[in-house]
Amino acid sequence: MWDWSYAAEILPGLLKAFRNTIGAALAGFGLAVVIGLVLAMFARSRWGPVRWVIRSIVEFIRSTPLLVQLFFLYYSLPMLTPLSFSAFATGVLGLGLHYGTYLSEVYRSGIEAVPRGQWEAAKALNLSRVKTWFSVILPQAIPPVIPMMGNYLIVIVKETPTLSAITLVEVLLSAKNTASITYRVFEPYTIAGILFLLLSLVLSFGVSRMEKIMKRRYAG
């Protein structure tokens, strides 16, 4: 059944593709962290129209599948606009936008947990909006939700095979390609699965460490 020499033969190719998986996941997550923060902050704008636009964007992105968004960014956008990105860049952008909307909700829960008195004290001290956000609110809002954000990183890692639909050769597509040449499916898919498992375990470990650190810091 399991052929060790075959597994060893295909492993380097799969690992190379796995680098794409990790790269796209990390870059996508990084972008989502930024987009999520921007969305969460503008969702609290004093201007009604701004809040409405942000809410619509979030709602729209969250209620359409990532795959559809990727197709749109990769195939339709270059037809509609002069913009055209590589498969990798499109994948990162798609993951960033899609999970940015989810992360904006994570930020929101952190921001809403900051007592109103903190906003009021900042106002009474006449701090600017920007100073209030970056010196008073976010330093209190973000640390408690870092573990939740970490969970989304794991979700994003597991979502990267979707990027194969826009021809990004991540680990699962690489496994599939390998299988279609050799007609041996067992080893490539198993190795791909194990790689995902290992990465998720490492990240879960990181997240739970983070959780413990945050609990200790915010217990008292």
């Binding site: 008195g117 004290a121 009474a124 001290l125 006449n126 701090l127 600017s128 100073k131």
Partner: protein, 277 residues
Amino acid sequence: MNQQLAEPSAAEKPERPVADAKAPPLVQYEQVTKRYGELEVIKGIDLTLQPGEKLALIGPSGSGKTTLGRMLATLEKPTSGRILVEGESLWEMRMPSGKTVPANDRHLRRLRGNIGMVFQHFNLFPHMSVIDNVTLAPRSVLGLSKEEAHERAVTMLGKVGLDSKLSEFPSRLSGGQKQRVAIARALVMQPKVMVFDEVTSALDPELVGEVLAVMKEIARDSDMAMMLITHEMDFARDIADRVVFGAEGRIVEQGTPADIFGQPRSERLRSFLSRFG
């Protein structure tokens, strides 16, 4: 129901210079109302505060006194009426054409620079040390250098007796210490008027004294106007130039501490005071 304003009496407090009654008012509430949905908590208040004047607001809970203070600190917007600070309306700007338009952020921030507030629940920034709490606004709002802000903050923390706790975090302070830091944090901005919103109400009884002592000292030494929203009658009697008694969103009675506590005129005030022995 609204009474004419009593002039602050100079005879009451000979130990320190008293508010100049002839100076233009520092703060002026004009027919101010505040409504939350169906509930009208402030029902047309006229009230002035002279520069340096120490005004105590007393009254039963729900009388609207906290709302009155919060409106001055721009934390609440009046439903109608105006609040003027040094003759300028908080929530409206006069354009060169003479038209008044809703205030923008710049206008509010400029006027808010005259106003400080100390809260019932301190609202210290928990992620910052004592010294960072006190230097944040001087550095970022007044543009002081790190050294200047530090020096000013240490002086102020010395005044409230906490200059030994500079690098402590709020979570390691007692309630009384927290409130004294909050007072220093507000004072360091050198506002012309400071709202003290029931600053001892959230404290354990044995910690009230230290905060009141600090505030008495401030009242004695500083020419800042103070709006003291308080349930501490002895404290109001000791440091106020003028006491305003409000109930159900209106001013019922006002006068010198001697008048208000010695010869209450209205039944409402008499029954309120009787509860404080």
